[in-house]
């Protein structure tokens, strides 16, 4: 297939370390002794728990109800008994707690009644709703609720839908194996997305170090009878970043301030497509995911793992070497050491890497920046990391913003190449969280100021109104009779067609019947407009909601309470 590919600047080629975990097919991880299922597993609102201690649950039963449009439901990963709904440490660098449903499995793994449906019989709204109810979120690491990305923009036509099978991070192979073993379901899932968004083209990008996956996907596309294009992209980290992959496949560059839909592109991960297919046509909510278990272990492998499985139990399956001293969740470029070994596998967990000093030697001491510029040459967003570093260090955060710190996707390319071994990304995270914290403080202060001023204003106004009332009382009394007569005449011909007219704001006594009639007509017109376009904010402004939710998510990330913001950017 001849296709013009584009390049993004920078990027690095770390050793891929993928073959270790590719030797064996996907295995089913056994049901663990206990499942700890966090309620907040996606960007957006935290689902409300709908079970309590002592409840019996079935596999796939709803345990957390989506809170708002940008939020996704959470389900029991297997059948058993709810032991508690309580705070537990999260798989997040902050080590903070969050509300979790703890389930003791009964070992039967008994499903709720699943209703397979033909999604073509559903309206787009119904499909989106089902995806939300099934807890389908971006599995590339961003965990953005998928249904929130599936409303076609009214203004910008959808040109390309980019499907991310690049999997550029070293060590991780779960998408690779998914495409090799379950390509058809992935392709069918992509079909659902395609039907909802109606893009002109569907481009499936796969790094060229995965020829088997690409071949499997191509075969599946043909078998299903689709016209999706499977495109090998050069292996170059971070080619699997959503923005980089969009650039490579379409030539479009999505700036930090915009979303890809503004440019007529939307991007989904292959695993997301797979779960969407299972959710819609098999009625199976997302209760498990593929996880690569690798690193300092005897038998690296990919497992299908129940959400909520304690990571140390999962790691045991691969028999870690005795010198293992930590678990990295995610890849070695953007992942993090989990705060304690028994934190649960969540929807964002694509890979566990057993950490040891042998595998990842301790970093050499940090030296001063020699301005060699290697970081700038490696940065896929064409930033000047050493300048941002300099100003982050000096806590001159305004300057870091001038150097576009919020365009940084924290891919780690700069840290990777820095000869001075400066942990640049850490400095950028620090700067970003400081900026967010300050903004919050400022907002809080502004609000307090506003509240205070408003209170003063209200008191003054109330005083004035009181005086006015007294003075006007007499005059109003006199005017009232005349006004009533006029209004009655006007309402006579409007009330019948427009009930709102009756609710029209009280008419000032001085205003004449003519004005009342105009007002009523305007109300009527407005009512008609509203009738023509049902006041469904869910459908009207998903983009705005998504924007708001993402901003909120970033702020939350600053508080280190949900998966970090950079994950947003990575392979949604």
């Amino acid at each position: 297939m001849l296709m013009n590919l584009f390049k993004f600047k920078g990027g690095v080629k770390p050793p891929t370390n993928k073959t270790q975990s590719l030797g064996k097919p996907i295995a089913q991880a056994p049901i663990p002794s206990r499942l700890v299922v966090p309620l907040h597993q996606s960007i957006g609102g935290t689902p409300r728990p709908v079970v309590q201690a002592g409840d019996k649950v079935l596999k796939g039963q709803l345990i957390g109800e989506a809170d708002g449009w940008i939020s996704a439901a959470v389900h029991a990963p297997t059948s058993g008994t709810v032991v508690e709904v309580a705070m537990h440490v999260q798989p997040h660098p902050s080590g903070l707690d969050a509300l979790c449903v703890v389930i003791e499995p009964d070992g039967k793994d008994e499903w709720i009644p699943r209703e397979p449906v033909n999604y073509k019989a559903l309206t787009p709204e119904q499909v989106r709703e089902r995806l939300q109810q099934a807890g389908v979120v971006g599995l590339g690491g961003a965990v953005f609720p998928t249904h929130g990305k599936l409303t076609a923009s009214k203004t910008v036509p959808m040109e390309e839908m980019v499907i991310n099978g690049a999997e550029c991070e070293p060590f991780i192979t779960c998408d690779d194996l998914l495409m090799r073993e379950r390509a058809e379901e992935v392709v069918r899932g992509i079909g659902i997305f395609r039907d909802l968004l109606q893009p002109k083209r569907v481009l499936i990008g796969i790094e060229d170090n995965k020829p088997e996956a690409a071949a499997a996907m191509r075969a599946a596309v043909q078998a299903v009878g689709e016209n999706f294009e499977v495109i090998p992209v050069p292996t170059l980290y971070p080619a699997g970043g959503a923005k980089q992959l969009i650039r490579v496949l379409t030539g479009k560059e999505v700036p930090a301030a915009k979303r890809s839909t503004d440019l007529g592109v939307q991007c989904f991960n292959v695993a997301t497509a797979y779960t969407a297919w299972r959710a819609i046509t098999h009625g199976e909510p997302v209760v498990s995911r593929l996880v690569t278990v690798t690193g300092n272990v005897h038998e690296p492998r990919n497992y299908e793992v129940l959400i909520g499985t304690p990571m140390d139990e999962l790691l045991k399956l691969a028999t870690p070497h005795p010198d293992t001293d930590g678990i990295i969740m995610g890849g070695p470029m953007m992942g993090f050491l989990v705060p304690q070994p028994d934190v649960p596998v969540v929807k964002a967990t694509n890979c566990l890497i057993a950490h040891s000093d042998r595998l990842f030697p301790p970093k050499a001491p940090e030296m001063p920046c020699i301005r060699c510029g290697s970081c700038a040459q490696a940065c896929p967003h064409e930033l000047q990391p050493f300048e941002m570093y300099w100003f982050s260090r000096a806590k001159n955060f305004g300057k870091t913003q001038e150097y576009h710190i919020f365009d940084c996707i924290e891919c780690g390319c700069c840290s990777f190449v820095c000869p001075s071994r400066i942990p640049l990304v850490q400095y950028f995270r620090f700067a970003k969280s400081e900026i967010w914290a300050r903004e919050r403080e400022k907002n809080a202060a502004d609000q307090a100021k506003e509240r205070f001023e408003f209170k003063q204003l209200r008191e003054e106004r109330e005083k004035a109104e009181k005086a006015e009332k007294l003075a006007k009382a007499a005059a109003a009394q006199a005017a009232k009779k005349a006004a009533e007569a006029a209004a009655a005449a006007a309402a006579g011909d409007t009330a019948a067609t427009s009930p709102q007219a009756a609710d029209a704001p009280a008419i000032d006594a001085e205003k004449a019947a003519r004005q009342a009639a105009i007002q009523a007509a305007m109300e009527r017109a407005k009512a008609q407009r509203e009738a023509a376009q049902p006041k469904n904010t869910d459908n009207l402004t998903p983009d705005q909601q998504q924007a708001a939710a993402e901003i909120e998510a970033r702020r939350a990330a600053a508080r280190l309470a949900v998966p970090e913001a950079p994950a947003n950017e990575k392979s949604e």
Binding site: L5, P14, K243, G251, P368, G373, A376, F386
Partner: protein, 343 residues
């Protein structure tokens, strides 16, 4: 434990970078030792020792980890550049003083590694040529007939600095002629009549310059430097010397002569490319390189010093921060996206 991603790091370090710079200097040094005089090797040792001593003393004073910073190799690079830019038979104390001044004042007083606004080696050169103009202008005649022992004796001050040791460089000869403006002098003729003149430029020196060129290309291939500064530097030098040469070939030497004379090649690949004191943005590097090349030409042809590279680089060092500020590159997603970059 706070997440220190990325866990994978490229196998690189400051000392690796500096070592590679030193390796890149080897072809030039070899040509120097072979064709001009092995005394340069002695000077390299003297400068290195002085640099390490000064570095160690300053690290002590500043309470920095001694082993870590001493082994970073940056002092050695500075020392070698000083040795290579000073006259090969300069007295040992001159080389040592220059080096110590570079390390203590130009480097550590400004904050040490990575903080110096001026290239330390060029500061040393500038200070010494202003303070000891005579000694800094004694360039030995080619091939230096003295055996190594005698050369070392001269350097160590054990033998008298006889006048015969030094002579004018081709650059000097040209400048003197131009200054006197003897009416009808002819560059080609003038140079051909000097036994210090080789095929393209100073005899022997031209091959040293070629050695630097090779080392520089190797650094570029290893991505230690980008093409911007060397191309802009040599480009500007060729442009201005070429223009004047075309205008009056009798008065002005050819671009090739200028490229292979004095510190042009060393400057283009090893000095103007110093990232700490130079520019870092691509366009900034172009401006920096072109400015340095242009100034080097003006100073070496019309100025009062034997060569212009040192002062040209120092002047551009002054401008570097402003140039960087004004040449910030576009970032991913900015307006003129899509132009170029097609694979």
């Amino acid at each position: 434990m706070f997440a220190p991603a990325p866990f994978l790091l490229k196998d690189t370090s400051v000392s690796q970078v500096m070592t590679q710079v030193c390796i890149a200097l080897v072809p030039g040094i070899a040509a120097y030792a072979w064709l001009v005089g092995p005394a340069i090797l002695v000077q390299l040792v003297i400068a290195s020792l002085a640099a390490l001593l000064a570095e160690a003393a300053m690290l002590r004073l500043r309470k920095k980890p001694l082993a870590l910073f001493l082994s970073d190799g940056s002092a050695i690079v500075t020392a070698w550049l000083i040795a290579l830019t000073f006259p090969p038979l300069a007295p040992w104390w001159l080389v040592a003083t220059g080096t110590i001044f570079a390390i203590i004042v130009a480097k550590h007083l400004y904050g040490g590694l990575g903080q110096n606004p001026f290239n330390p080696a060029m500061v040393a050169f500038g200070v010494c040529i202003v303070s000891f103009p005579a000694l800094m202008s004694q360039w030995p005649s080619v091939g230096l007939q003295l055996p190594l022992v005698d050369q070392v004796n001269v350097i160590l001050g054990l033998a008298p600095r006889i006048d015969a040791l030094s002579s004018a460089t081709p650059l000097d000869a040209l400048k003197t002629a131009l200054k006197l403006d003897e009416g009808a002098f002819d560059v080609t003729h003038l140079l051909a009549n000097q036994d210090i003149y080789g095929n393209f430029a100073g005899r022997g020196w031209e091959w040293v310059a070629v050695g630097y060129l090779l080392g520089g290309l190797w650094m570029w291939q290893r991505k230690l430097i980008t093409w911007h500064v060397p191309v802009a530097f040599t480009g500007a030098l060729v442009a201005v010397s070429g223009a004047l040469w075309l205008y009056n070939p009798a008065h002005f030497a050819s671009p090739l002569f200028h490229l292979l004379s004095g510190g042009a090649m060393l400057g283009a690949f090893f000095i103007a490319t110093d990232p700490v004191s130079g520019c870092t943005t691509p366009r900034g590097k172009l401006i920096f390189g072109a400015g340095a090349g242009l100034l080097a030409y003006i100073i070496r042809v019309f100025g009062g010093y034997p060569d212009g590279v040192a002062f040209a680089v120092l002047l551009m060092n002054l401008c570097a921060p402003v140039i960087d500020l004004l040449t910030q590159p576009r970032i991913f997603g900015m307006k003129d996206a899509g132009k170029g970059g097609k694979a």
